[in-house]
Symmetry: C2
Subunit: 347 residues, 2 copies
């Protein structure tokens, strides 16, 4: 308390911990402890420090904090999904599981380029992310593993890793196929067509497999279009539906492997004057808002619950960070059916 040099105001740069310490007349260490709620600091001192911090509108530099803690409070998301159709809901789920704002997400889009992918991976690791979520693109087939020796917990989401030692999270497409078929069977449909799109897509084959199991279990009929290899596009869906109606005029339900295909089927049925769901019930997969609410009638669909998938991915990483271990293997998450007028009618 002698005649001391007046503490210079922080000028334009942001206030730092020593500014707070100086203003409240304590040491850096005490200021730090006061701000972090440690218990070996006098309540009166603490409030002086808090006031000073408030006055200087002090915000701790998390870069510095991260350096000593060894944690950065960031999770990387590495994806190839340029359209963002899958990655966005997964991101949203991860974000709220990570406690909004506590942990941040660094999003990297490799755009299907292996080189760019490994570059992104390298910089993510250099940034010392605490965990990594690898989100598959359009396809759900297993993707090459990033390797087992990564220094952070990794979750593969949507498309699993090819290495069974990694932790992968996928949607249960077989279950989805079964649920779709059972829904239609429950409604009394017996001749159900599966509009598969592109059979080279694992997701499409699995959904078919699930549907087939349910249909054959009750001796109903599964109808497939002759045109096996199509695109995931509506033009193909329209063509295939037209052919289906020619060869199987008595079919009473259509499952589109994806909402767009179901929409294509709806369009063709309308052209042919077939009532939906009166003559033919129709449903799709993905429960893509922009499609299902805009069709005539609104489309029943299987929701992939991607947000839940993102949440699960985040909490797996969370547990690993808390000292737990990552369960190896592929975990298939349940999907849910959203029934709308295209199968239920206006009842």
């Amino acid at each position: 308390m002698t005649i001391d040099a007046a503490p210079p105001p922080p000028a334009n740069r942001a206030a730092t911990l020593v500014d707070v310490a100086r203003l409240s007349g304590v040491s850096k260490a005490t200021a730090s402890k006061a701000l972090n709620g440690r218990d070996d600091v006098n309540p009166e001192t603490r409030s002086r420090v808090l006031e000073a911090a408030e006055a200087l509108s002090f915000r701790p530099n998390s870069v510095a904090r991260n350096l000593v803690s060894g944690r950065t409070g960031t999770v990387g998301i590495l994806t190839n999904d340029l359209e963002g159709r899958f990655v966005i809901p997964i991101l949203a789920g991860a974000e709220d599981a990570l406690g909004s704002g506590q942990i941040s997400v660094i999003l990297c889009d490799a755009r299907g380029d292996r080189i760019r992918e490994s570059q992104h991976l390298a910089t993510l690791l250099d940034r010392r992310i605490d965990g990594l979520i690898v989100v598959g693109g359009a396809r759900t087939e297993p993707r090459p593993s990033l390797g087992r020796s990564l220094p952070v917990p990794v979750v593969y989401a949507y498309a699993p890793s090819s290495d069974p030692g990694d932790t992968s999270l996928v949607t249960d497409n077989i279950l989805g196929g079964r649920m779709a078929a059972e829904h239609l069977l429950d409604l009394g449909r017996r001749r159900i067509a599966y509009l598969g799109g592109n059979a080279t897509f694992l997701a499409s084959r699995e959904r078919e497999q699930g549907a087939r199991a349910a249909i054959e279990a009750v001796d109903a009929e599964l109808i497939l279009p002759e045109i096996a290899h199509g695109a995931w596009s509506e033009p193909w869906g329209r063509l295939a539906t037209t052919r289906l109606l020619e060869r199987h005029p008595d079919l009473d339900a259509i499952i589109g492997a994806q909402d767009g295909l179901a929409r294509a089927a709806l369009d063709i049925l309308r052209d042919h004057g077939r009532a939906v769901p009166g003559d033919v019930a129709v449903m799709g997969f993905d429960n893509w808002e922009i499609v299902v609410t805009n069709t005539r009638p609104e489309l029943t669909s299987i929701d992939l619950m991607l947000q839940a998938l993102g949440r699960r991915a985040a909490s797996l990483i969370f547990e690993a960070l808390a000292g737990g271990t990552m369960p190896p293997g592929v975990e298939a998450l349940p999907v849910e059916l959203r029934a709308r007028a295209s199968t239920l009618g206006n009842g």
Copy 2:
């Protein structure tokens, strides 16, 4: 070179700069300079250091590097666009302008919640991001400014800031409206309807304004539906189109304020047996891949060039970081017309 304690191998933790220095027999300082290509280090020494770094597979900890440099090499993106329809292309554009991998993007979704937005902003600033891009949601009306005193350069993208002192980037919707109308006028159309969706959306009003200017300039007719306030939804688009056809059976073109509305118009025209583009030419806005390539016929649309917008946003931040200054005000970026069969036909 005396009998020295053997340098302990890095065990399981990641190799650090001192490990490299020790292995190559130099000081931390020299190792750092060698790795960073500074010129006051002997070539022979440098290669010894590089070998050591290679052997230990050393990667510099960028958290530590950031602490001293004061830069983190990260840019925040703050958005309310839950669907990701706008933010994803903007993100993609920003990413490649930022030099793939050199600068990373932290994506935060506030989901329309002001509280969550300011939380996210606070943690982004605590993380010492180098710049911030604020991406507007569905609406393009000016949004509240984050304030002028932010310690980092900020760009508002898609929806501008309400403060003219901020830097905003928007798509030129008036130009878009004019281009759409001129395209149709060039094709000989004279009675052009504008299917505006929801007139409370600035984007819709601006597109209408641009179209009106072009149409009135040549004394052609702009037709508007009676139902002024609709949703941005296809069901509304179908209803409005039906009414339009009743009152204006002679219209020869329809501009949908958005691709979905144009699609709705196509559906109704087909129901009524009107040929597209023979009787009526149709076009939309957004050039949304998933819509425009799936309609019958494929849809002409105005591309908002959001990726270019993202690139521009990133390079503005880049320049500001390099010592430049942010140009205040709103910059409207040009859009582009993608002509397809719904106006051109199969010619």
